[in-house]
Symmetry: C2
Subunit: 153 residues, 2 copies
């Protein structure tokens, strides 16, 4: 039997939670402020977080071509494109947070006819929620976050 279309996605990397999303956004803002490459240890120090956890998350973003890695001395992470071209929805989708919500909703159903029908309904509602969330997140870019973190108000 073929494996299907699940070839590119390694869900083993990092947890698809909102904390991960928050850490990703903060790291991207920091990378946007730094012009050159920035190692994970510096980011972790600035964010008061753990370097390995950041690396796990940033590896996913690098796999989705949002950032680029550079190993060796003077290496680290760097944005692949301009901060105003990176939407929060793009980061959100890269981390597959919507799929986590979907599985959380649909996998809680049984196998009988009622469970199957409810699973279908849950999937529809989840899809609508995800689309709504993506619409909101599409309005903001990393550049917006940089601006809002530099100017208090």
């Amino acid at each position: 039997m073929e494996e299907g279309q699940s070839s590119r996605k390694q869900p083993k990397s990092c947890p698809s939670t909102y904390k991960t999303f928050s850490l990703s956004l903060q790291a991207l803002v920091i990378l946007a402020k730094h012009s050159s490459t920035c190692p994970s240890s510096d980011i972790a120090t600035y964010m008061q977080s753990e370097a390995t956890l950041l690396r796990r998350i940033l590896a996913v973003l690098a796999r989705e071509y949002i950032i680029e890695t550079r190993e060796g001395r003077e290496g680290g992470y760097r944005l692949s494109k301009s901060p105003d071209l990176i939407t929060l929805a793009e980061v959100y989708s890269a981390l597959q947070i919507d799929e986590a919500r979907c599985s959380g909703m649909t996998e809680a159903t049984g196998e009988n006819s009622f469970g199957v029908k409810m699973k279908s309904v849950m999937f529809d509602i989840t899809s609508e929620i995800d689309q709504s969330v993506l619409t909101v997140l599409n309005k903001y870019t990393i550049a917006d976050l940089v601006e809002r973190t530099c100017e208090p108000d």
Copy 2:
């Protein structure tokens, strides 16, 4: 002494996850189909889930006056009002799933100036997402789910 606007929030009760939300919706649909009171064991059997887990969740819904409990023989759970008056947003808010998302986003920030600013930004975005989600969930009621689970398509 009145408790004020705290409205007796015991976060110790059940996890604020989407699986909980899914189980709540399924249980409410089942309760809407049954006119009289229905014990948790019957609901769990029909949903192919665990009775104690359902009871934990339903206790929260009863605390928010969405359903009513009746102990003793021939007891169980019963909807407090008509299914077409119970919106999914109401259930969603009762389970405090939005607060779980908010804490997941805001608690991932540090304590320095950058972390505080990011926390504020995260809170704003989270609030906007929550409002969007609630808007979607306000369009549907338990009666809608009952209808969609009875009529295949």
